[in-house]
């Protein structure tokens, strides 16, 4: 079903003028409420009046994750703190979190967008949905939760971490939908298969996101769990899950375009790519109050299709993701930058600054191994000494990443040395 036909199926012309009107208002709003944007616009000689329609968006400067970091924690908020009703946070590139804020209206619009996505997958008020994204600072859990409640489904807020309880409730409650990361869902499929419970489940819809996944994983999920699997996309800076989702025709993810204006740019020249060509996805939030973003560079690579979908929606569709512009990894739904590992290891004097990150997927769960070398002067010939060091490094990395890596100490001089652009990551998952 189409949750908001008026918005999701409006003609492209009408949509453009709505986006234009919202952009004009947004630019005026950020110019007068966020010093960062005002200065950036002034630096290039732009005034709010220079932006008259949606095409003028290309005149505006970009915003990056570094800008969010530099203005940590609340520097880019456009409203006084009294107007903020919630914050979420995700990993930053160098240790400091990226903090995002929401007004009450932002939360309502977020729920609306997620509701559109869930409705697009087939979920209705008659469904029982298990939300198995993490609840907390991560946007996944609460974001999906509010959207599912908005649809009117019966929401089971599972969060993450207890597969046994989840599968038991899935069977006992007769859950018909689940929202979680695709790799976790494949793990659950394995648990259900091993307990011979596939025949007992009533799942119809799987709404998976927070990490890239392959066509093969999509097929695997659908065949093993007998569900219709959908890809939901979002990023906390822009809002959270619900920025885009694919309908039952699976021909790309419909963007909630009346709220988030997508551009696909050539990442070298930063000029607009023609539809169908791969480039970096850039979002401008058209209606956000607390943390409006102008031309935010997501670093995700995709292409866009503006043709009307068979489902009747006119909203643009972005393709399955084709990679990243930067070296960010998504491990169990958590964003990890190699620079975070590097920054954390600098504080451990017992190890050299050389490291290697090895990401793999074992039994459908992501594994993260960090290999380090011991500084010769700290070498000990006692196993408990090495184990204590391993534990210490593991703790430091866990604090920095929010993930529990396996730390492996390797012989000196075995890790690749920087020669120009050093390779610090081996990702064996082949997700793109």
């Amino acid at each position: 079903m189409i949750w908001n036909e008026a918005k999701e199926c409006m003609s492209r012309d009408e949509l453009s003028s709505l986006q234009g009107a919202r952009l004009v208002k947004l630019v005026d709003y950020v110019y007068h409420n966020v010093e960062f944007y005002r200065k950036k616009m002034q630096a290039v000689g732009l005034e709010p009046g220079d932006i008259k329609n949606i095409e003028d968006i290309v005149k505006l400067p970009f915003t990056t994750k570094d800008d969010l970091r530099d203005n940590y924690p609340f520097g880019l908020f456009a409203v006084p703190q009294s107007q903020i009703v919630r914050v979420h946070a995700s990993s930053g590139t160098t240790g400091k979190a990226t903090v995002v804020g929401y007004t009450r209206r932002d939360i309502e619009i977020w729920a609306e967008c997620v509701a559109r996505c869930f409705a697009m997958t087939g979920v209705t008020k008659n469904d029982i949905i298990q939300i198995a994204y993490g609840y907390g600072l991560f946007t996944g859990g609460l974001g999906a939760h509010y959207g599912a409640e908005k649809v009117g489904a019966m929401v089971v807020p599972m969060s993450t971490g207890n597969s046994k309880k989840l599968t038991t409730m899935m069977v006992d409650f007769g859950a018909t939908a689940i929202a979680c990361t695709p790799s976790y869902l494949l793990h659950l499929a394995e648990v259900l298969e091993s307990e011979n419970k596939i025949k007992d489940i009533k799942l119809k819809y799987a709404i998976c996101g927070a990490e890239p996944w392959t066509e093969k994983m999509h097929k695997d999920i659908e065949e093993r769990l007998h569900v219709s699997a959908h890809d939901i996309y979002g990023l906390s800076e822009v809002m959270g899950p619900g920025v885009a989702c694919d309908c039952k025709f699976h021909t790309g993810l419909h963007v909630c375009e009346d709220h988030f204006y997508p551009e696909i740019l050539n990442s070298a020249t930063l000029t607009t790519q023609i539809p169908g060509e791969t480039g970096e996805l850039v979002f401008t939030t058209l209606t956000k109050e607390a943390l409006p973003l102008i031309r935010y560079r997501t670093k995700d690579l995709t292409s866009i299709d503006y043709s009307t979908c068979q489902c009747g929606r006119t909203s643009a569709r972005i393709s399955r993701f084709k990679g990243r512009v930067d070296d960010m990894l998504i491990i169990r739904g958590v964003n990890v930058f190699p620079s975070q590992v590097e920054a954390a290891l600098v504080d451990v004097e017992e190890v050299s600054p050389h490291y290697m990150i090895i990401v793999d997927r074992v039994n459908n769960l992501d594994t993260l191994e960090v290999q380090v070398e011991i500084n010769p002067q700290y070498f000990t010939d006692e196993i408990r000494g090495i184990e204590a060091l391993t534990k210490k490094i593991s703790h430091v990395l866990n604090q920095a990443l929010g993930l529990n890596p396996k730390v492996k100490i390797v012989e000196p001089q075995t890790l690749v040395r920087s020669e120009g652009k050093a390779v610090h990551v081996i990702d064996k998952r082949k997700l793109y």
Binding site: I374, D381, E382, I383, K408, E411, P412
Partner: protein, 142 residues
């Protein structure tokens, strides 16, 4: 008399132990005793050799993590209970044995290599009880 043990960190990779031994062979470093402590990820090779300094230098040149550790090499009677008695003495004096392995058996006597939490104190106490400790030179003549 404290002796020097040569310790080497080895990743659990095929052929790594052989490479260590090869370096020692090439440089004429003779092994008198060894112990290999292993975990799933790595192993610690502890060696009593005729020339620990040379072994350390050459292995370090080849990129191995090595170190010289002070250990006690003790001569004890080769009979039931003598090791137990020795350990009891240490334990009564609050000294922990961190690791230990055999070095040689020679007629009535046996030698063990021992690393303790407080090596100086351990030696002092053991000497009082009549246990002989061996120097690096003594070891060479075993």
């Amino acid at each position: 008399m404290v002796a020097k043990q040569l310790s080497v960190f080895i990743e659990n990779r095929q052929g790594r132990l052989g490479e260590v031994l090869n370096v020692l062979k090439t440089n004429g470093v003779n092994i008198l005793s060894l112990s290999l402590a292993d975990t799933t990820e790595y192993g610690l090779l502890r060696l009593i050799v005729n020339n620990p300094e040379l072994g350390k230098t050459k292995l370090a040149e080849e990129g191995f993590s090595t170190m010289l550790t002070s250990v006690l090499v003790l001569k004890i009677n080769h009979e039931a209970g003598s090791l137990q008695g020795l350990l009891k003495t240490l334990s009564d004096n609050n000294i922990n044995v961190e690791y230990m392995y055999g070095l040689s058996i020679d007629g009535e006597e046996a030698s063990v290599v021992l690393k303790a939490s407080d090596l100086v104190k351990a030696e002092e106490i053991l000497l009082k009880t009549g246990v002989k400790t061996l120097s690096s030179d003594d070891i060479l003549s075993l």
